[in-house]
Symmetry: C2
Subunit: 295 residues, 2 copies
Amino acid sequence: MIKCLAIIGVGLIGGSLALAVKRAGVCQEIVGGGRDEAQLCKALELGVIDRYEINIATAVHDADMVVVAVPLGAMEEVLRQIAGHVRPDTIITDTGSAKGSVVAAARAAFGAVPQTFVPGHPIAGMEKNGVEASSVDLFEGQRVILTPLPDTQMEALAAVRTLWQYTGAEIVEMEVEHHDAVLAATSHLPHVLAYVLVDMLARMDESQGIFHFAAGGLRDFTRIASSDPVMWRDICLANHVTVLSMLERFSSELASLTAAIRAADGTHILSVFTRSKVARDLYYQYKSLVPKEIQ
Amino acid sequence: MIKCLAIIGVGLIGGSLALAVKRAGVCQEIVGGGRDEAQLCKALELGVIDRYEINIATAVHDADMVVVAVPLGAMEEVLRQIAGHVRPDTIITDTGSAKGSVVAAARAAFGAVPQTFVPGHPIAGMEKNGVEASSVDLFEGQRVILTPLPDTQMEALAAVRTLWQYTGAEIVEMEVEHHDAVLAATSHLPHVLAYVLVDMLARMDESQGIFHFAAGGLRDFTRIASSDPVMWRDICLANHVTVLSMLERFSSELASLTAAIRAADGTHILSVFTRSKVARDLYYQYKSLVPKEIQ
């Protein structure tokens, strides 16, 4: 039982977590904190939180556990406002999409990363945002990645695991660097590619009516380019080392394929396309054939 | 009324066109032609065609109209087998995904592009293939682009328009170069990006278990990487001039964005991401709000 859970940043992620914790009936009070009073008011009206505080130090003062669910760009500032205002045994976790930068922010804010701090990242859909989009089922069947450090307290890790289990998510642990590499490859890089492509097409569209003749494939391919630009700018900046390394790797692969087209090297082109199709078909076939709990 | 329609290459596209023409009851006989006798047999069994000929010269001998629905890589060879074996007034059209290369193939095969030749491209889903996937509705509500040349006969163009109207498709005319630029931008380039990305991830996956943590966004983003590799190799080779120009343009835009991330230039990153999101949201909002027939 958590006596007091403070959620800093009550948007889609913070709000959905609050709803799942309420449904589980394992928390006496949920306090919302953040600088957006209109959003906190709405969260209170919707019954997502029990009360709110604009002052973050006040919001976390009585908390047994603090979840920081603010954009990556605000993470360090918020952690600084928390530091010195929580009890030594208060467990702190976050929901940022990049973990190396959050660990660095915690180190900067607290002097050293508290042993009660458990970096976390729920992988959930992001097409809507705001507390009014919150859903008690948002994390059901999704993955939450926790990236504890070597000296993170076992008790803190166990408590954050338990918290996320109330949402119906599957909890996975990995190292900070592995998380950032995996996410840069499968999420951050594809978002950058989609954004750059759509921006290029939009500018061509003015003169050539490009979009009008686009088939269904483009719609799916560019769906992620409808994601929140501020959030994705923050992710690119926060995870820049790994994102840059993926961008370099991709650019180099693209240059090889471009060279093969220029040289009319059908064998090279076909080998890339075939490996790609086989990998994708096999992976999604695997996903559809193997029950999720044993994948 | 068409007395004899010859369809060379009775796969998904040729087969679906045959079914729609049969449903319309506007053709006395449909002859299938091509080198894949097993596929032609199946087409006959399924009632897609009325008879077939392995010899292409024989298949087109009595035809009023010939539709060449073979892969781009086989186009010139098939047109050479047609040349000299059709009547001077036989109308010829094709279904290739790139048009400049088909016009060049026709010029090579016939000495000059026949005035009865109308290059065409039905934009339809390609996830399945083979005649057994044929559907009378495949082109319903889809677009068919025709790219007549300056000296293409009006009668031939009108006849090919009418043919496609039987399928329920919307027919659009544009110049060969415009077609190839639009398709390179909205279809060929995205396919290349998806193939290169999945191939890169698949090779990283062996060491780092990348795919296991991929969210739903990647599934949609990479769907087109499950397309037929041979068809897409052919498209890259056939439309190489325009595809290369789009690849160069994209690589240069990607290099700018990469430089902005390296320089932590949040303003530049945000402007690209915001323009992209606005363009995509507006375009698909437009698509959902404006009735298709007046878009």
